[in-house]
C-alpha cells in the first residue's frame, strides 16, 4: 500500500495492466513522451515503448476511429481524450460505432476499449475545460460509463474497465486529480495521507463496474452522487449534522439499482447531486428510477442539485459549482417536506 493521489493511482492502473497484457496500447494527445497534460500516462512510453504509448494528431474523431480499428484488430486501446469538453468530435465514432459494434454484428466484432477523459469543473477552466457530459453517453446504448471519486476506486475501476469486454467511458473528475477536496473550495483540505481511499495497493486489483459504494451510512435521507460530488455530499452531511446516507454510484451505466433502492426505501428521502447541467442530466434518470421503484416509500419529492443550464462560467466558477450550500438547502427541504 502506498498513498497515491488520483493521478498516481490512474498511472499505476495503466502500468499494472500494460505489464500484464501486451495488447494494451495507450494513445491520445500528448500522452507519449510527455505523459499527458495531467501526467496520467507519465513514464509509460519510456517503459513500454513508442508503439504502446504514443501521441496522436489532434483529432478526437480520428483517435476514436483508429482506436476502434485497433480494438477490432485485437488490441485493447486505452484512449485519453484530453478534456471531456473536446470529446464531441469523436461523438459519432463513440456512439454510432463503438457503442453499436457488438449489436450490429451480433457479437462478431467486439471492442474492448476505454475512453478516459478529465472531466468536471473546479479548476477555473472556463466553459471548455469544465464540462460533465456523462448523461450523453448514458443515453446512447452500448457504452458503460464510470466516474471514480477517489484514488483507490480510480485504479480499481480503471483496471476493471480495461478488462471489460465492451467500450467504457471513464471520466476522471479533475478537481480531485491532485489534491483531495473536502467539499468546501474555500477551506483547507485534509491531505490524502489521512484519507483511507488514498491507500492504494501497488499491484493488480479491481473494483467491479456497476457496483455503487455506500460512502457514508445514514437513515434520514439518501444522497446519490458520483465523482467530485461525493465529497460535497460527505462534507455537507458532516457540516450540517444530517444523518444522510451517501451513495457513491461509481458507475452510472449500468447503475447499481439495488443499492439505490435499498437506501431510499430505508430513508424515504432522496437528493441527487451532479455537476452537469440540470435538464436531461443523469439526475433526471436517477429521479425517474427512484420514484418508479420507491414511490410508496418516498416521503418527499426526489430533488436534484445540479449545475445550472448554462455553460460553466469562468469567473463565477464557484457560483456555478454545486457546493455544500446548494446541497444543504435541498437536504433541508427534503427533511422538512
Amino acid at each position: 500500500m502506498t498513498v497515491m493521489n488520483m493521478i498516481e493511482a490512474l498511472n499505476s492502473a495503466h502500468d499494472v495492466m500494460m505489464g500484464r497484457d501486451p495488447d494494451i496500447v495507450v494513445m491520445g494527445e500528448d500522452v507519449g513522451y510527455f505523459g499527458g497534460v495531467f501526467r496520467v500516462t507519465a513514464g509509460l512510453q519510456k517503459k513500454y515503448g513508442k508503439t504502446r504509448a504514443f501521441d496522436t494528431p489532434i483529432a478526437e474523431g480520428g483517435i476514436a476511429g483508429t482506436a476502434i480499428g485497433m480494438a477490432a484488430y485485437g488490441l485493447k486501446p486505452v484512449v485519453e481524450m484530453q478534456f471531456a469538453d473536446y470529446i464531441y468530435p469523436a461523438f459519432d465514432q463513440i456512439v454510432s460505432e463503438a457503442g453499436r459494434m457488438r449489436y450490429r454484428t451480433a457479437g462478431e466484432w467486439t471492442l474492448p476499449m476505454v475512453f478516459r477523459s478529465p472531466y468536471g469543473g473546479g479548476i477555473f477552466g472556463g466553459q471548455t475545460h469544465s464540462q460533465s457530459p456523462e448523461a450523453l453517453f448514458a443515453h446512447v446504448c452500448g457504452i458503460k460509463t464510470v466516474i471514480p471519486s477517489n484514488p483507490y476506486d480510480a485504479k480499481g475501476l480503471l483496471i476493471a474497465a480495461i478488462e471489460d469486454p465492451d467500450p467504457v467511458i471513464f471520466f476522471e473528475p479533475k478537481r480531485i486529480y491532485n489534491g483531495p477536496f473536502d467539499g468546501f473550495h474555500e477551506r483547507p483540505v485534509t491531505p490524502w495521507a489521512k484519507h483511507p481511499a488514498a491507500e492504494v495497493p501497488e499491484g493488480y486489483y479491481t473494483v467491479p463496474l456497476g457496483k455503487a459504494a455506500v460512502a457514508r451510512e445514514g437513515n434520514d435521507v439518501t444522497i446519490l452522487a458520483y465523482g467530485t460530488m461525493v465529497h460535497v455530499a460527505l462534507a455537507t452531511a458532516e457540516e450540517q449534522g444530517i444523518d444522510a446516507e451517501v451513495i457513491d454510484l461509481r458507475t452510472i451505466v449500468p447503475v447499481d439499482i439495488d443499492t439505490i433502492e435499498a437506501s431510499v426505501k430505508k430513508t424515504g428521502r432522496c437528493v441527487i447531486i451532479h455537476e452537469a447541467t440540470r435538464t436531461g442530466g443523469f439526475g433526471a434518470e436517477l429521479a425517474a428510477l427512484v420514484q418508479e421503484r420507491c414511490f410508496y416509500h418516498l416521503e418527499a419529492p426526489v430533488q436534484r442539485v445540479t449545475g445550472y443550464d448554462t455553460p460553466y462560467p469562468h469567473s463565477l466558477e464557484w457560483t456555478y459549482f454545486p457546493g455544500p450550500t446548494r446541497l444543504g438547502i435541498a437536504l433541508k427541504k427534503a427533511l422538512e417536506d
Binding site: 476511429g65 488490441l75 449489436y103 466484432w109
Partner: protein, 423 residues
C-alpha cells in the same frame, strides 16, 4: 489596412454553386472527360518517394485498350484462370444484384443497393489483395464477398433479415459482416470505416503481423471529417493500408462537384498528405488489380499507405429508394465512355483466345441458376415482413457481453407485451 471606403467600390462577390453538365431533359455529354490512352502512364517502383510521383493523381492508369488488349507497364500479366475467375465474380455480382433488386421490388425486403458498372472496383481488388487482408467496405463492395466465396445464401439471408441472418435481422439489407472472409461490418454512417481501417492496420503493424487493411469510400463521403482523420493518421504512422476512393461521380442526387470534384481529382487528396495517389480507370479490372497490388505491396513492405481513386460511374439509382431520372439525364450510365467492366474483361479474354460467346452465355446461365437456387434456399428461412424471424428476447442480446439489469427488465416487459399482443 485599406479603409472601408476604398472597399466599397470593389466588385460584388458571388457564390459559386457547382452544377453538373446536364440535368433531366438535357443531353448528357461526356466529351469533356479526359481519357489518356491505355498503357500511357509509367509505373514507378513501390519504393518511390511520394514527392517524386506528385503528377500521378492527374492522369488515369489504364491497362485495357479499346480493343481489349492489355498494354503498358501496369499490365498485371494475370493468367487466364485468374482472369476468368474475375469475370465470373463480376458477372455473379451483377446477377445477384439484379435478383435482390427485384426481390425488394417484390416486397421481400425493405431496401437494396446495386453496384452496376462498378463491379471491377471490388472484384479486382479482392483478387489483388491477400485472402486474409482485412477489407473495410462501403455498401457497394458486395463484390469482395463474392470474390472471396462467401455463400450467396448467407448474403440473401442478411438482405431478408430472416431466420438465417447471422446478424439477427438487426442491420439494414446489404450491411453484411464477415470476419472470417475479412469483410468488416458495414456501417450506415458514411466514412466511419475509413479511420477504423487505418486503426486496424496500425494494430497489425504494432503486432508485427503481415496482414494489411484496405478501405473503400465514395466520392461523396470523402467530404466527411473521417476521411481526413483516416488519411492523416495513415500518413503519420505510415499505416499499412490501401485507401480507395470510389468516384462513381454521384452521391445520391449530388454530382461529384459538390464533393470538390470540380477543382481537382480525388486522387490528388493524397498529395496534400504527402502519400502516393493513383488515379485508375475503375472500369478496367486489370488496372484496378495492378494499382491495388502496387499499393498492397507498398503497405506490406512498410512503405505506408496509398490513396487510389477509382474513376467509374454509378449506372443506376443510388438505391431502391432512388430514381436518378429526377436529377440527371435518363440513360446517362449507358453512355459512360469508359464502358462496362464486365464487357471489357470479356473482350480481353476473347482476344486472348481464352473465352468465347458460348462459354459466356453458359456462365451467365449457370450463375443465374446458382443465384436462383440460393434464393430458394434462403427464402425457406423467410423474408422481411412475414412473421418476424427473430425472437423478442434476441433483441436484447449483444448490447453488452452480459445483460445488465435494465435490459433484463426491458426484455421481460417486451415479452409481456408480446404476450399481450397475442391475446
Amino acid at each position: 489596412m485599406t479603409s472601408s471606403n476604398e472597399r466599397r467600390n470593389r466588385p460584388a462577390l458571388s457564390l459559386h454553386v457547382p452544377e453538373p453538365d446536364a440535368r433531366p431533359g438535357e443531353e448528357v455529354d461526356f466529351s469533356g472527360v479526359a481519357i489518356p490512352a491505355a498503357g500511357s502512364v509509367a509505373r514507378p517502383d513501390i519504393n518511390v518517394a511520394p514527392a517524386d510521383i506528385r503528377d500521378l493523381p492527374y492522369t488515369l492508369i489504364r491497362v485495357l485498350d479499346d480493343d481489349g488488349k492489355a498494354v503498358g507497364p501496369w499490365d498485371p500479366r494475370l493468367d487466364a484462370d485468374t482472369l476468368r475467375r474475375m469475370l465470373r465474380d463480376m458477372a455473379m455480382v451483377r446477377v445477384y444484384d439484379e435478383r435482390m433488386f427485384r426481390a425488394q421490388r417484390q416486397g421481400k425486403t425493405s431496401f437494396y443497393m446495386k453496384s452496376l458498372g462498378e463491379e471491377a472496383v471490388a472484384v479486382a481488388a479482392a483478387h489483388a489483395l491477400d485472402r486474409d487482408d482485412m477489407c473495410f467496405p462501403t455498401y457497394r463492395q458486395q463484390g469482395l464477398l463474392i470474390a472471396r466465396d462467401y455463400p450467396l445464401t448467407e448474403m440473401m439471408c442478411q438482405v431478408y433479415s430472416n431466420a438465417g441472418d447471422k446478424l439477427k435481422g438487426r442491420q439494414l439489407p446489404i450491411m453484411y459482416s464477415d470476419r472470417e472472409k475479412g469483410f468488416f461490418t458495414i456501417s450506415g454512417n458514411l466514412g466511419t470505416q475509413y479511420p477504423q481501417a487505418v486503426g486496424w492496420a496500425m494494430g497489425s503493424a504494432i503486432k508485427g503481423d503481415s496482414r494489411i487493411a484496405a478501405a473503400w469510400i465514395g466520392d461523396g463521403a470523402t467530404a466527411e471529417g473521417d476521411f481526413h482523420n483516416a488519411v492523416t493518421f495513415a500518413g503519420v504512422y505510415r499505416a499499412p493500408v490501401v485507401l480507395n476512393v470510389v468516384n462513381n461521380q454521384w452521391a445520391i442526387s449530388s454530382f461529384s462537384g459538390i464533393a470538390g470534384g470540380e477543382l481537382t481529382t480525388f486522387a490528388a487528396r493524397a498529395v496534400g498528405y504527402g502519400i502516393p495517389g493513383l488515379r485508375v480507370d475503375g472500369n478496367d479490372p486489370l488496372a484496378v488489380y495492378a494499382a491495388t497490388r502496387w499499393a498492397a505491396d507498398r503497405a506490406r513492405s512498410n512503405l505506408g499507405p496509398t490513396l487510389i481513386e477509382l474513376f467509374t460511374y454509378r449506372v443506376e439509382g443510388h438505391s431502391t429508394s432512388d430514381d436518378p431520372s429526377a436529377y440527371r439525364p435518363q440513360g446517362a450510365g449507358a453512355k459512360w465512355p469508359l464502358g462496362d467492366p464486365l464487357m471489357r474483361l470479356k473482350a480481353h479474354l476473347i482476344g486472348l483466345g481464352e473465352w468465347d460467346e458460348e462459354r459466356h452465355q453458359q456462365l451467365l446461365d449457370q450463375l443465374g441458376e446458382e443465384v436462383k437456387a440460393a434464393q430458394k434456399e434462403s427464402e425457406k428461412l423467410g423474408t422481411l415482413g412475414g412473421e418476424a424471424a427473430q425472437s423478442v428476447e434476441s433483441m436484447f442480446d449483444d448490447v453488452f457481453a452480459e445483460l445488465p439489469w435494465h435490459l433484463q427488465e426491458q426484455r421481460e416487459q417486451a415479452l409481456a407485451e408480446a404476450e399481450a399482443k397475442r391475446k
